[in-house]
Amino acid sequence: MNPVRAYLTQVHAVTAAEVMKLAHDPMDLVTRAVQPILWLLLFGQVMAQVHGLTNGSYLDFLSPGVLAQSVLFVAIFYGLSAIWERDLGILHRYMVSPAPRSALVIGKAIASSARGITQGIVIYACAALLGVKLSFAPANLLGVLVMVFIASALFSTFSLIIACIVKTRERFMGIGQFLTMPIFFASDAIYPIELMPPWLRAIAHFNPLTYEVDGLRALMLTVGRSHFPLTVDYGAPVMLLALLIALASRMYPRLTE
């Protein structure tokens, strides 16, 4: 088997195993979809009464933010399942296999996007019912799909790195909670970046979630406009993702030592 084909087979092995597990237990996907619906229905409806927060409808503004947030909240706990798999012994099986460590990391990262994409479908359905001006142009939908894919892979790989550092479930739970809030609030997910004090705005510029939301805002909505060029919205997270995958590939084997 040629090396590229071999590598892809091993990536696929990991992704397929994860997707088969989701297929056996789809309830997991359903329960995770509740939170973003609540954000749109409760938070979104109330905040829409505040005038002048955004140009145009707040629900339009919020929907891409909620999609980005739900992808983040699901992916950021991915490392927990890595620790869980180590505790069970499943990870040992992966680690003694001849698959390159990067193939294992990439396989897991791709699998995490399966969850992100199902969240996206739920959020589109809910937003459509609320009258959000969604764009269904094929190019835009494809763009959203790619962005959700990149973001899921990015935050799940980041989470995997945290797992390799903290190594136990208890410590991970604490850190996971601690990380999601700053990533979420130091982004343009629920308010425009212009409303932030300068110091927070500076931090937001280093936050990949900011670029994700910005790109989603341009693509999800018929009235959408992005603050940064789309090349930056896609380019910045992709570069960070490549760096995180390289780092995670080196650190992943530490879990089974």
Binding site: M20, K21, L88, G89, R93, V96, P98, P100, E257
Partner: protein
Amino acid sequence: MSKTGPVVETHALGRRFGSVVAVADLSITIAPGETFALIGPNGAGKSSLMKMLTTLLPPTAGDARVAGYDIRGEPQQVRRHIGYVPQLPSADTELTGYENMLLSARLYLLPARERRSRIAEALTLMELSDARDRAVGTYSGGMARRLEIAQSTLHRPAVLFLDEPTVGLDPNGRLAVWSHVRRLRRETGAAIVFSTHYMEEAEDLADRVALISRGRLAAVGTVAELKNAHGAASLDALFTKLTGAALSPTAVRL
């Protein structure tokens, strides 16, 4: 890999965790096709040794070759030629037996057109064909172990490492696992390296045994050789004689 050289060869292999010495100055040689038992109480260093030989744990001293490859310099080659069943249950309980096998078949790059037949063959050998489409979570402990052995031998490794393969199994489960390992040995000719603290498992199955105490090799040889040389009636007595420690304070006879 050379067919004649040893399948495992360690030279003064060692591993420390901070100030704790898990394995020290350990040198052993295991021949192709040999069944070799690592014996010692819990905490003796058997698992650490096995994790080093399977490339999961980098050594802090010495070196080792497995299947002809250097565990430090050529870990990927080592992994291609070994099978490993860790002490923890390593099959995914949320997947079916077949799905677990498929995962292994892909990770070990079995040719796509052979996957189905090789998986079927391995499941038949382990007598799991009827349970192939059930979630592993519904398997008995012994069935799950046999599945893990099937997963670990699908790629026909030169050496199979089994870390305490019968811990936690009831007597029937233990007997079934070992009768299947015997069959596997007969049919594939793979060397088998297993750790245990059940003396009778070592006596019945191993060509040679290594007694390990506090990370060090206390003795190595056939059971008969060791008993004769030290005038001990049983492996338990021998272990106590050589190390001053009891091997299994609550030994349960099969």
